[in-house]
Amino acid sequence: MLESYLLSAVSALAVLVLLAWQVRRRKNRTALIGLILLLPLLLSPTITLVAGNGLKNGITEYRFDRFSPPSVHGALGTDARGRDVLDSSLVGSANTWAVTAVALVVSVLLGLTFGLLAASQRHFVSWLAGVVMQFFEVFPFVFFLAITLAAYRQYGYIADVKQSASAAAFFIGLMMGLISMPYLGRVVERLSKQELRNPYIQTLHGAGVPFWRILWKNILYHNILPSILLQISLLVGVIILMSSAIDYILEIGFGDYGQTGILSLGKLLAHGRQSVVFGEGLWAVLTPAIGILISVLGSSLLVEGLTRRRVTVKQ
């Protein structure tokens, strides 16, 4: 289990360093607060990796130890299934990051490709890229994920494949990436079309530069990349919200199909939903709820801080 966290820990630390560099460069307080709020999510894979087997006992279900309040034995108490809330929230956060990271990679690769193709001057290519993006837009995400996850679980049964946590995280991340791809693709398309109206594009055309090179190098790399990076930061929040929603829905409504997936923050919330309604053992849902809240809030504030322009007022 722990080996699979190595990759997500490395990716989380890389993202953390990149964001810290951006925040330091911009010197914006809102962005700094956003980065601090994102720290638990980004550090959870590393903590899970370092804690090693110590977490295994924490996330094992003990039916006789339900809803123990926070004490010296468990800093955040236990949940409805007798799991340690701190340990399960850490593992849940690490898994949520793993799904988010895979989804981001898929979304960025496909979003950039289809966004740029949609801005292309070849009508058929542009139309086809637009249709592909619209296909993932019109499919209600709950429907798309539910049906593919059900098929994934059934495939595991049929082929008698043991579906490990890392394989499940990869598959769910892949699906999340597909449905969040149009968010990025549409922004890339809009910005590229705006950029294509500039006179320097005509100059490059006249100089015989190939169109794909203009798209990738002159438009994407030299001009619209900063806006795209900010949109990617915003995607973190969107993906976390979507993945937690789908975990919740699968858990409450899809019977044995809903057992697909991994222990994530959304799954923990779904397991503790009765606590919210009946007010029993509220500490079991507070930690994952706060985990989701601060991660999404952090990504929004980060984008807000990094996009805000420094306005100098001259009276």
Partner: protein, 315 residues
Amino acid sequence: MQKKRIMTLLMLVGKAVLKTVFLILLSTWLTALVLGVLPQRERSLDIQQQGPTVEQRSHTVMQRYGDWLVGLLHFDLGNSEYYFGDKVSKYVFSNLLLTFSLSLFSVIISAALGVLLGVHSAIRGSWRIQPPPNARREAGFNVFRYALYIVNAVPTYILGILLLLVATTAPMVLLVMISMVLGSGIMMDFAQMSARLMEEEFQEPYVLNALGLGMKAGGALPKPGTVSWHAFRAASASLLPLIGSKVPFIMGNVLVIEMVFELPGLSEPLLGGLINQDLPLVLSVLLLAVLVVQVIAALTEVLDFVVNPGKQFLI
């Protein structure tokens, strides 16, 4: 001139219809394909007795999909295979109204509040249009904005559960509250998009020219006859399609909230259909979901055409 505008409008509608048909065929075919992967499930005796006939069971998924398509050409959604053999239309049409109204209300509420917030934020931050406000107004605005950020970061289903705890019995009040909960997830997106578009618009040379010629800058919000109104109209050209593109996300959230509240919307037949692998029911729900998304997207495009007569539309 008027004839040309009508022709353009008709071609816009025609293009939307063609795209909708293509997307319906693609999404339903892929769904049928995925459903075909799932093995047949054990069913209770009463469902077996009223379920598909022996002849129907011997058909492959693609044959059943073909039958459903032929029925669709005759405006018949077919009979439910496992829900007592009833007409599918009986289940879905009665539930469609709620999903459609919730989606529409949420789009309207979130777009109205988000755009107002974004436009005000852009006007406030632009020294060309407005000098910086006093400290008290600034603090009040920031509190409101960050409160919205926090609401935006809470998963929709948690807001839904919290709403259940304080829910009122008045159906209209409940509907508005649910729509606000649904819209909250997307409101800040609209605010950020509109702020960015307005800021871009304020950088255009015509804004400085108009101010130099003595045109009023405008107050906290755009008023007709002011510079900020013209900037708002120009920005809305890009804003309306972006609002339309967020409809599927809201639709996904509507399905989530319907499941949490157990509302009689499209999520009920969707869940039942998926768990029981009821092909006509699942395909019909998907068909209606795609139609709802496309109709709202087409409406935003037509509205964009009406409010921006000078815009060039790609037909």
